[in-house]
């Protein structure tokens, strides 16, 4: 088990190195650089920039140097724990990160928890009571949830709330609490805003989980061991929770690896439509303005989260499922 872990850690580091190259190349691919997009956004605001400023900016950000040199400098700084400077916000990347990561985590993890808490019981219910009224209802809602894009759902929700209840649900805080310190009042204000993004983000995910769990569980329920367990006298409820559900959970557990990076990326569109102060809008802005250190750091971080997530889900799988655990030992 320990050797397995060590091997995985080494591959993770190598993957990160490869990822850093890909990230850097991809960020360099679009035409122009930060200065071009900076000029473009100033023009859109009706301003214009003179040639001297352009040269000075390129010089300051070392955008005239070859890509390889820029990459080298970037990696060297990262190794020293310095993720560079955001061109656009003129702030160290680490600072931007630390300011937003808390809220991002809070919103996304709550959404994930809600998603699982809702979908697992529903999934089990619809598999066990296949073709019942409840199953059809869950199926219809599930497909609706899958079919409606998050942003559309968010817009519809915004419209409904404005039109019928006269409230705007965008953002996570009312203006008076935006710059306030955390307090009970601020938390309540937060709670009164955060339900909307959580509802939007978790709907689609929950629908998907319900479908996957239902399909897996249906496969398991028809297997001979289920019949045997029942024949030996286990109650139906106890039997289902103990055996088929645990097996059916495998595919869900193996997707934990994808859940972690969603802390930044899943709610991309939702966060922009609903104007949430999370990392997602910052990543989008950074990509649009070719703010390469900021975008690079965020994408690297997402990559790291995916790797860590995959590792966690593999370990969890081994814990849940003896077949996998034994397979690992066998491989050693």
């Amino acid at each position: 088990m320990l050797t397995y872990l060590a091997r995985r850690l080494v591959t993770m580091i190598l993957t990160l190195v490869a990822l850093s190259v890909v990230v850097f190349v991809v960020i360099q691919l679009p035409p122009g650089d930060f200065v071009t997009s900076y000029i473009a956004s100033l023009s859109a605001a009706g301003e214009n920039v003179d040639q001297d400023t352009i040269i000075a900016l390129r010089d300051r950000y070392k955008l005239d140097q070859p890509v390889l040199a820029q990459y080298g400098a970037w990696v060297a700084e990262i190794l020293r724990g310095n993720f560079g400077y955001s061109f656009e916000m003129q702030t160290p990347v680490a600072e931007i990160f630390s300011q937003r990561i808390g809220i991002s985590l809070a919103v996304e993890l709550t959404a994930v928890v809600v998603m699982w808490a809702v979908s697992i019981p529903i999934g089990i219910y619809s598999a066990v009571n296949q073709y019942s009224l409840g199953d059809y209802a869950a199926t219809i809602l599930g497909f609706l949830g899958l079919a409606i894009p998050n942003f559309l759902f968010a817009l519809v929700l915004m419209y409904i709330c404005y039109n019928w209840f006269g409230v705007t649900i965008t953002g996570l805080f009312s203006p008076e609490y935006m710059n306030a310190r955390w307090s009970l009042d601020r938390f309540l204000d937060f709670a009164s805003h955060v339900w909307a993004p959580i509802l939007v983000i978790s709907t689609a995910g929950a629908a998907q989980l319900v479908r996957v769990l239902r399909a897996n569980l249906l496969d398991e329920l028809n297997k001979p061991y289920v019949l045997t367990a029942r024949a030996k006298g286990l109650t139906r409820r106890r039997m289902i929770w103990r055996y088929p559900v645990r097996v059916a959970m495998n595919p869900l557990v193996s997707t934990i690896g994808w859940v972690l990076p969603t802390v930044i990326s899943s709610s991309f569109v939702t966060a922009i439509v609903l104007n949430l102060p999370t990392l997602s809008p910052i990543l989008l802005r950074a990509l649009l303005s070719q703010d390469m250190y900021l975008a690079g750091a965020l994408i690297m971080f997402m990559g790291l989260l995916t790797l860590v997530g995959t590792l966690i889900s593999d370990l969890l799988l081994a814990w849940i499922d003896p077949r996998i655990r034994l397979g690992m030992v066998g491989a050693n």
């Binding site: 122009g32 817009l155 710059n179 439509v273």
Partner: protein, 629 residues
């Protein structure tokens, strides 16, 4: 508080007769009064300059209180800050945009050849932290900009090597130009010209090596990567340093760094303006700007009554119906603005194209005239702009002092037959199997246009024009592209055509005549010639033809003339040549715009000009806005 209109009006009249109120007669906001009584703030007489500006209100004298809410979009939106709380330049445009008037400066003098400008400051004028504001601060700002070592963003429109500042005494500052510039005062009154009163030497001096030798270390210790960056961030057009002293009506409480969601401003107790009754401005206690990520969110805030006074980002023709309908429930009204732009979309063929065949074709005036006559502008107006606007070329607006009818109206009548005839006369008679005309080189004429994907109107117009031009056998390949790609192509001179809106419809035409001749990098129809005019030393510079050169010479002559009448005559000549040359194709003259104002808000301007050079609403003096009880 005076609570009848009669009394306030008569008192205002009385003030007008006796001139500014005498020291000791000034009054201040209740919160400041309490602070003075508590001993935490010096008395009002010590905070106001000896001769404060007396602002004549648009409607009436107001009362203290309230919060002015508006919205920003993304991280770059310092433009709105500079237009609203930020417009307190040394000399300002008057409300009607007819002349330059003293603002921070008490008065100014200009010598006859427009090379020496002397500014007299107000005795006792103070920064928002209570430190005295003097001529040293002006010299400090000029020195930074003129310093070749300063690598930050510099205000546009100034030639730094030709400007030098001199402190005559603490209240007198003289700028000397090595060459005459008849537009220098106008430049100082623009939104960019404010730089000169933006940097407090006692605060920013620590970041400038000419003032403190260890500036670089200080900047690094403060978390910047160089002194240049520290100055750019904390002293001029960015608002990330909330401690920085300002001359604005409100001082900053929260930094605008792209992370904070709410940018707040509070009353500046040292603000240098009063109303006719002697009440220190501003009336409104606080300004709040919410940072948003998208325009739809701002629209929602508007209709829900969460925006008190703004037209930033959302005030488009497309959004107007929704915003108009929401007036009653949202508790706001729409006031009109006069758009200073003279065009919604200007199509610019690249006259300095690197491909010799395309260049030859695009430089045929008849070719451009044919393309222009083939545009069905009435259809564009009906489809894209809800019937608002009129067919127009790139020319000053009808209300402008520079209006030139030929330039404005030539080739705007929809006439595909005449357009076809023109193209036939050019010898472009051969067509391929799809009916597309063959160019001089025998290849089908295909014009590629990348329109910026975030400006939806351009794309809508381009799609219509693609159909219009099919009628005359021209293939317009219009695509949406990311804005930075569009600009990259222009910078590299690899574009066939560019589309952008038409700035320069009113008095800003003088300062930014980008569509009337190749003037700056925004003159996408002739990058190479513009580079020549700007003397950038760029590798793509090219000597322009004689007529273009003549326009450039005329403009240089105009710059050197302080006389307004002479300037107008010279600009008229430039426009005549522009009409003769017909560089670019305009589409639609924008109709009036609108601005949203809380229905309780007083002293809201109606019909104010909307443009960048004249940073609406700034010149109305936003400190006089107030909430009616």
């Amino acid at each position: 508080m005076l609570n009848t209109k009669y009394v306030s009006v008569s008192l205002a009249a009385l003030m007008a007769l006796t001139g500014p109120a005498l020291a000791g007669e000034y009054t201040q906001a209740p919160a400041l009064k309490a602070a003075v009584e508590a001993g935490t703030l010096p008395p009002l007489e010590d905070r106001l300059p000896e001769n404060p500006v007396v602002v004549t209100p648009i409607e009436s004298v107001g009362t203290y209180g309230g919060t002015w809410r508006s919205a920003l979009k993304g991280t770059y939106d310092t433009g709105w800050v500079r237009r609203t709380v930020g417009y307190q330049p040394l000399v300002a445009y008057d409300y009607e945009w007819t002349k330059v008037v003293p603002n921070v400066a008490e008065r100014f003098e200009v010598n006859e050849d427009a090379t020496e400008f002397t500014f007299y400051l107000r005795e006792g004028h103070k920064w928002s932290d209570g430190e005295p504001f003097t001529a040293e601060d002006l010299k400090f700002a000029v020195d930074i900009m003129a310093s070749p070592a300063y690598g930050g963003r510099k205000p546009g429109g100034f030639e730094w090597t030709k400007i030098s500042g001199e402190v005559i005494d603490p209240l007198t500052f003289k700028i000397t130009l090595s060459e005459p510039n008849g537009l220098f005062l106008e430049r100082l009154a623009t939104v960019e010209g404010q730089f000169i009163v933006n940097a407090a030497k006692h605060y920013c001096g620590k970041y400038f090596p000419e003032v403190s030798p260890d500036a670089n270390e200080t900047a690094k210790a403060a978390g910047f990567d160089s002194w240049t960056q520290a100055i750019e961030q904390s002293c001029f057009f960015n608002f990330v340093d909330e401690d920085r002293p300002l001359l604005f009506a409100w001082r900053q409480v929260t930094p605008y760094d792209g992370l904070n969601q709410l940018i707040e401003w509070e009353r500046n107790p040292y603000f240098f303006k009063v109303d006719p009754e002697g009440q220190q401005l501003p009336y409104i206690d606080k300004v709040q700007m919410v940072q948003t990520e998208n325009v739809e969110d701002i629209v929602l805030k508007v209709v829900n009554g969460e925006i008190d006074f703004s037209n930033r980002h959302f005030a488009t023709v497309t959004n107007k119906p929704v915003i108009y309908d929401g007036q009653d429930s949202g508790g706001y009204t729409l006031k009109s603005t006069t758009d200073a732009r003279m065009n919604h979309a200007i199509f610019q063929l690249n006259l300095t194209h690197d491909d010799p065949e395309k260049r030859k074709l695009y430089n045929e005036k008849d070719f451009r005239a044919a393309l222009s006559m083939a545009m069905d502008r009435e259809e564009i107006i009906d489809v894209v702009f809800a019937g608002q606007g009129e067919p127009y070329q790139a020319a000053p607006r009808p209300s402008s002092q520079f209006y030139n009818e030929t330039l404005a109206k030539q080739f705007t009548d929809y006439d595909p037959d005449a357009a076809n005839a023109l193209l036939d006369d050019l010898g472009l008679t051969e067509r391929n199997s799809e009916g597309i005309r063959l160019g001089f080189d025998g290849e089908p004429i295909r014009i590629q246009l990348f329109s910026p994907s975030d400006q939806i109107e351009f794309n809508d117009i381009a799609q219509l024009i693609t159909e219009h031009w099919k009628e005359i056998g021209i293939d317009l390949d219009a695509r949406n592209a990311e804005r930075s790609l569009v600009y990259e192509r222009i910078q590299n001179n690899t574009h066939d055509m560019h589309v952008w809106w038409g700035d320069g419809g009113l008095n800003d035409a003088l300062l930014d005549p980008r569509y009337y001749f190749p003037f700056n990098l925004e003159s996408a129809f002739a990058q190479k010639w513009a580079q020549h005019f700007m003397k950038t030393g760029s590798t793509i510079t090219e000597q322009p033809p004689a007529e273009v050169q003549q326009q450039m010479d005329l403009y240089l002559e105009l710059i050197a003339t302080p006389d307004k009448g002479q300037q107008k005559a010279l600009f008229g000549e430039i426009l005549d040549i522009a009409a003769e040359q017909f560089y670019v194709m305009g589409t639609v003259l924008p109709a009036d715009g609108y601005i949203v104002a809380n229905e309780k808000l007083g002293n809201v301007p109606d019909g104010q000009v909307y443009t960048w050079m004249y940073p609406q609403p700034g010149p109305m003096e936003t400190a006089q806005l107030y909430f009616k009880k």
